[in-house]
Symmetry: D2
Subunit: 375 residues, 4 copies
């Protein structure tokens, strides 16, 4: 199967992750999640809601670290349930920092930031919340959730509401803010909200984030295996939060989260505020070359997509296209050619697109513009 073997060799050429098969053949497929930085910020790939056997997960923390390395993440947190301990007969572990400390050890010789965090696991309100960047999870073992949040804050936590659309706590899947949440927001005890959790997305949670200036979060909330849950071998990916950070450090990520500088990457969809969505998309799409074919006024534009996003675009330029209707798909990590009928031969022009697989609010999509200079 020359074709297939060729594919694999090629992968070996570029892939950032090598697997050595038991039988000595180098195989691999590129699962590293790929996004460009944007002017002024590094774009860091983070999954801040995960579980190991130290609460109700099915793996030891080393697997979570290996998954993160395979996915090319910048930062993770193992956010074990403080109150829900189904494995406690086998894993009594008095120390609630244990999963964090183990993960920290496994990540030691790798370029992965591990953040201490815990899931405060209550019925509604407030439901489940994650406190990350904490110093000592043991001090969060208190009955009154408000006391817990205040202690977490005292330790410097960033706190976000988990799966507000969770059908176990909202039968209709509709995220609804309660007075308790409003009070927490007012007191600075709630900084973010999951708009994406695992395989679910919530328009209502996004609206709550926008209305209350909460940071837009997306997480895997993984309990089993990332590879199985998101079909990574078939090209699937876990949901992550892209944090726009001034530096690639725990401090830089925390600052980015507290200032709401995030975009969620979920099932080939981007979710965030225009301030971050638009630069991310415009940094993903580079006009590599533009020229008019011989004696025509049809401009051939070669667009390089340096991200994992298969962009689904609606043409909003005044020009019509020679090879597309108003719907243009830009495949990930490769180049796409768009032929534009500019009517006259121009030196430069702008292409405008609405990005249909990105949302800046429920049913609302960002618009981007690509500057084209004819060579």
């Amino acid at each position: 199967m020359k074709k297939l073997s060729t594919l694999l060799i090629c992968i070996l050429i570029e892939v950032s992750l090598f697997a050595q098969t038991p039988h000595g053949h180098s195989h691999s497929y590129d699962r590293v999640i790929n996004f460009p930085d944007v002017p002024g910020y590094q774009v860091l790939k983070c999954d801040f809601h995960q579980h190991s056997i130290f609460s109700d997960g099915s793996v030891w923390p080393d697997i979570r670290v290996q998954e993160a390395l395979k996915d090319g993440l910048d930062a993770i947190s193992l956010t074990e349930h403080l109150e829900y301990q189904p494995h406690k007969d086998d894993v009594p572990h008095p120390d609630r920092n244990r999963a964090y400390e183990l993960a920290l050890g496994y990540a030691k010789n790798h370029d992965l930031i591990v953040v201490n965090g815990s899931e405060v696991t209550r019925s509604m309100p407030p439901g489940h919340t994650n406190a990350i960047f904490i110093k000592d999870a043991n001090k969060l073992l208190e009955d009154d959730p408000i006391v817990v949040f205040k202690e977490a804050k005292r330790q410097g936590a960033f706190i976000f509401w988990n799966h507000p659309n969770w059908s176990a706590q909202a039968k209709d899947g509709v995220a609804k803010l309660t007075d308790m949440h409003r009070q927490m927001i007012k007191e600075g005890l709630l900084n973010g909200i999951e708009v994406v959790n695992d395989v679910t997305y919530s328009d209502e949670a996004l609206q709550i984030a926008l209305d209350n200036n909460l940071t837009i979060m997306g997480t895997s909330d993984i309990h089993g295996l990332i590879d199985w849950q998101y079909e990574v071998p078939h090209g699937g990916h876990r949901p992550i939060t892209l944090v726009f950070a001034r530096e690639r450090t725990e401090k830089g990520i925390k600052e980015g989260l507290l200032e709401g500088r995030t975009v969620v990457w979920f099932n080939n969809t981007l979710i965030g505020k225009n301030d971050f969505l638009v630069p991310l998309i415009e940094s993903s799409l580079k006009v590599k070359e533009a020229s008019y074919s011989n004696k025509t006024s049809i401009a051939q534009i070669i667009i390089e997509n340096v991200s994992d996003v298969e962009y689904v675009l609606e043409n909003k330029s005044s020009y019509t296209l020679h090879g597309h209707t108003d719907l243009v798909t830009i495949e990930p990590n490769t180049t796409t050619i768009v032929d534009v009928k500019t009517l006259d031969v121009l030196d430069a022009f702008e292409l405008k697109f609405k990005v249909l697989n990105a949302v800046n609010a429920p049913k609302s999509h960002p618009e981007i513009s690509l500057q084209v200079n004819i060579k």
Copy 2:
């Protein structure tokens, strides 16, 4: 690489075509183009603009027949240029019906309809036109194109304008109707227009078709090999015209064309009038199963797509979705699950979508509705 993922899924779901390798191993990829019939009509897959060595193509007619069989087409025509004969030093062939007769012979023992046709090859106006369903191409060898069209009509032809957006005849790629075309339309000498030719699409040609009630046509205009030009092994497909016919015969196809009952299938895009687009799409998407998960008002809808189209849908229902933003992709030839937040537990409801990769007019997309009955 959605095209490749599509291929993969096809392989999984419906391997309808096996190839026996020279070395005896059964391999395959499914390249048979797959569309359902619609109420009242058979949906026939046709490519009525192709070339062989009998004008300026690079293959003998048997290859065109084999390509059509591999693609599962219902009907083809080898429309050799009447006036342009670059191979004439080697292939003098006085008889302009020769390519047709040879193709007819190769198709004899197969379920493929071969239609006699010719390309009338003139500068603008009228540019290039195809006359198909003719009886004798030799009688079309006349100087005056109008005389040619009248003779073709006398023979019972369906005549359509080829690539009105061709940059060799329209530097700006913009299709423009001339007085000569208007006259031809008035006299019934022009019945259709290519909105898609090979790798190009024309919004302006679509508008001309709608304004002048011309049949919407899409063809490959293939000169080389279908497999190479449309990257069939990577999941690409040639452009075809889907004809909505009352019977699967030459007569049925001709009637369908003359009555404008067509949809063009081009680069995962459908182009046509709502009267045909909407039933085609609604016949492609079947609600296989719908149920509420335990104690919630979130309905899980299993939608089966029985076509090759990867549908790109915008949710126009009043309900929001539990796993998607307002953009929903329905992969071809497989099932997709859509979770709908109906707020109350309902017995039945309607899902409404705008189909973004289908156009019924420039920048205009059809809307479809799927009836959901909870089991």
Copy 3:
């Protein structure tokens, strides 16, 4: 990439396992290990050497059960180290049957046999051994290994020597029997030996098995994830022991093991005694059809391979082949055509092959015969 081609073919021929992606699209690759039964025996797929977090593994037992179900195994055992407990700070677990009991629970509603077992973990001699089919692992916590083996036997155990080629206990990787092992064999305290452990194979261990009538074993000894260690998405598979059983029960498997009725499946290689290898291979390869093409004495044989093995065969018939040298590859789970030059037109004949990717002793390969009857 024959492995990948194999995967492709499996997908084509028998997609027996579907995964529902988080986002609702049906994807799959067939990882179910596929072997036919043989006359008189069911061929059961077993992996009797695995670890979970209850000794030095990285997963909770539920993952081991899910891996086994995905691989289509018939039986597994979680053989935790009795003496080696690196997780004991977090998982004190006095009860050494715990991993077994948990796995049993997770397998309850599935068609998977879970066997209680433990790894007796000593320096050489005797090195590491697995005792499976035990009743109470806690009773094996004794200093003297002979006492442990006798107690295991008292409980009805089947005992096998693990990785005798392990470089940590045999610097040269060469398995060597010690007097202690000879004594154990004499006393019936050692029933089998791993000829394959994880990614290693040992010619010397195979010779020891044959010389001492020990059951030939192959196991994964998995600590991490099967998918990663054996590159399952690329078509790799874990090593398993195929047990030839009279019934698909714990009793049937134990009887088969005690009577030495096994073949090891490792990296597209079969290892065992001819009594089991030959029927397994001959049951895998079915002559589906045989005929002479028009007016020739060249017989076209269509061979169906109903196993996962890509057979590498050397032609030992007196006839030469029309499409192959003396090396014939039979791809898994599909059909292969072999054209045989029989010189005369025969009613029936025998094809003889040496199977190069099967061994019945070091450097020794079984020969098979396929009866061909011309239709």
Copy 4:
């Protein structure tokens, strides 16, 4: 499908052949046939038996040139039948050099050598023969084949016997030399013999080549499309003759053929004399790295295969292997690790293999040796 898209990008990184899809996405798969040169010779990839519409083929010569370029061939010849002209009603073409001249023109701006040749098409004896490197095919239109061969020789031809195993001329598929052939050989009118034609191989033809010192030839004899006949998208390849040439010119190739410096590449099998087989295989397999893992005498050898051959090797060293039986598969265009149990820690040693998918005579396989120097 990130995985797949990644595959494609990677391909774009290394592939020597780019396809621009109609819809602007760069796709490709590497079909370029890949072999290393050997000391003293360039290894040139040649297919000297092909047909176009100028005899009984189904394509214009431009397609043959494009296929050759896609396959990365160094030289081709369109060897039209002189006597068999099924298309003559449509393609009278008096000039029998026409296919050659057209192909020459299409290859003009490419790095492909086109050689003039013709197929002398007779019943047995002598059956079909190709005369290549001729100057004027028209002069070969003579009744007596001996007269034809003498004229071809006068023009400087290399002449080889086509498909001596062809069942239409040898019902039992067995190549048999006739007195006429012996006479031709004696007179220098027969220089080579096809051991491989299309999908067939002949042990008997190989023996004839060896007994009579005829050059070993393999050709596609393509009439339809290479992509379909050899399932190139599935990794198949056409049969070719590798010519060991002192220079990459028509002269160099002709000299190589006349001196019998060839290896045939057919269905992952190499066929030739040891003088050329062994250097080709040893040049394909490079020991990239060799080391002993910590404190063991098990040497890890990383072998890079720089050819398209999936080598099927039998270990003939005195050492046994830690991860394989005596059968070792070396995948094409990638690296494979072989762990060797050298018993003592050595500075250097030799690995010896029999190459099972290469034949130097019927049922006879070359042996190669790889020098290993521990770093």
